[in-house]
Amino acid sequence: MTTSEHPHGHDHGESSELSETELRVRALQTILIDKGYTDAAALDAIVEAYEQKIGPHIGARVVARAWTDPAFRQALLADATAAVSPFGQGGRVGENLVAVENTPERHNMVVCTLCSCYPWDVLGLPPVWYKSFAYRSRTVKEPRSVLREFGVTLPERTEIRVWDSTAEVRYLVLPMRPAGTDGWSEEKLATLVTRDSMVGTGLPRSPEPRS
């Protein structure tokens, strides 16, 4: 059975798969840790120091395109996996991806219980807080206060919708285009799109006021 025949995630029975390279990396890691050459926490600390530097980070370009090209925006909201795939440079990206659009009426936030459910091939590696129990549990219960802690205060009338990622579906938040960016190019707009704005824990940067 293939996932494309079951786009709604009816493949819970499928086993996991690791690529040949991932198998080799895990084999080596296990041996190094078992023999005491290093420990998991030390390796994690090094990887986390680069969390912003892992993955192709194509999400910002996808968002900027959606802001400037209404047809692309439609396509993205209709089928994000298909819309995003041309952005990948070799290798599949955005598998089982769903884009959710922020509006003045609704703000979207994404949580997940497993880091594997983060669209790292679009957004890079998940930040440490994304994997924390506190973020996962509190976002579902009190999204507005979690947002405030991230420095985002939304009008009371804005509904907050929380999306729980699964292995089958990952989410990309399409933030609202900042005011004061009329006539901006796609490249320039992409510089305003932060990772957090695509997870829903932040908003895009505001354009620098002209001096």
């Binding site: 493949d11 819970h12 029975g13 499928e14 086993s15 996991s16 798969e17 690791l18 690529s19 390279t21 991932e22 198998l23 080799r24 990396v25 895990r26 084999a27 080596l28 890691q29 296990t30 041996i31 190094l32 023999k35 050459y37 290093t38 030390a42 390796l43 600390a45 090094i46 990887v47 120091a49 680069y50 530097k53 892992i54 993955g55 192709p56 070799g90 497993l114 594997s116 459910c117 790292w120 590696l125 699964t166 292995a167 089958e168």
Partner: protein, 127 residues
């Protein structure tokens, strides 16, 4: 943070590393994991960067002779192959060790439902 100092020394010794203005960049998570293991083993004093660079250079040269396009895409594959050679040379992980652990991880992945964290159990070694 010490990881940054260690990374700077690693960069100085490995001019081929994919970087941006702030340091190393990785296309996939496993690349960062391979990099992290190398830093950790270097910190332990398992090898000097000069020794690492020489071995990585050999690996890349051999790959090019075998037709590797050398576009930078394959850099971390060479890095991982070098790490395997280095750990074998230093008697940390023999090729047989690596193979049995690789197979165990494959079994662990097969018995783990999609979306669950994959964890290695002792039973994975026996098949």
């Amino acid at each position: 943070m010490t990881a940054n100092d260690a990374a700077k020394r690693a960069l100085a010794a490995n001019p081929g590393l994919p970087v941006d203005a702030e340091g190393p960049v990785f296309r996939e998570p496993w690349q960062a994991q391979a990099f992290a293991m190398t830093l950790a083993l270097h910190e332990k004093g398992l090898f000097a960067w000069s020794e690492w660079a020489a071995m990585l250079g050999e690996t890349i040269k051999a790959a090019q002779a075998a037709g590797d396009p050398d576009t930078g895409e394959t850099y971390y594959h060479h890095w991982l192959a070098t790490l395997e050679r280095m750990t074998a040379k230093k008697a940390v992980a023999s090729p047989a060790d690596l193979a049995s652990h690789r197979d165990a991880w494959e079994r662990a992945a097969h018995r783990t439902p999609h979306g669950q964290p994959i964890e290695l159990k002792s039973g994975d070694f026996t098949g």
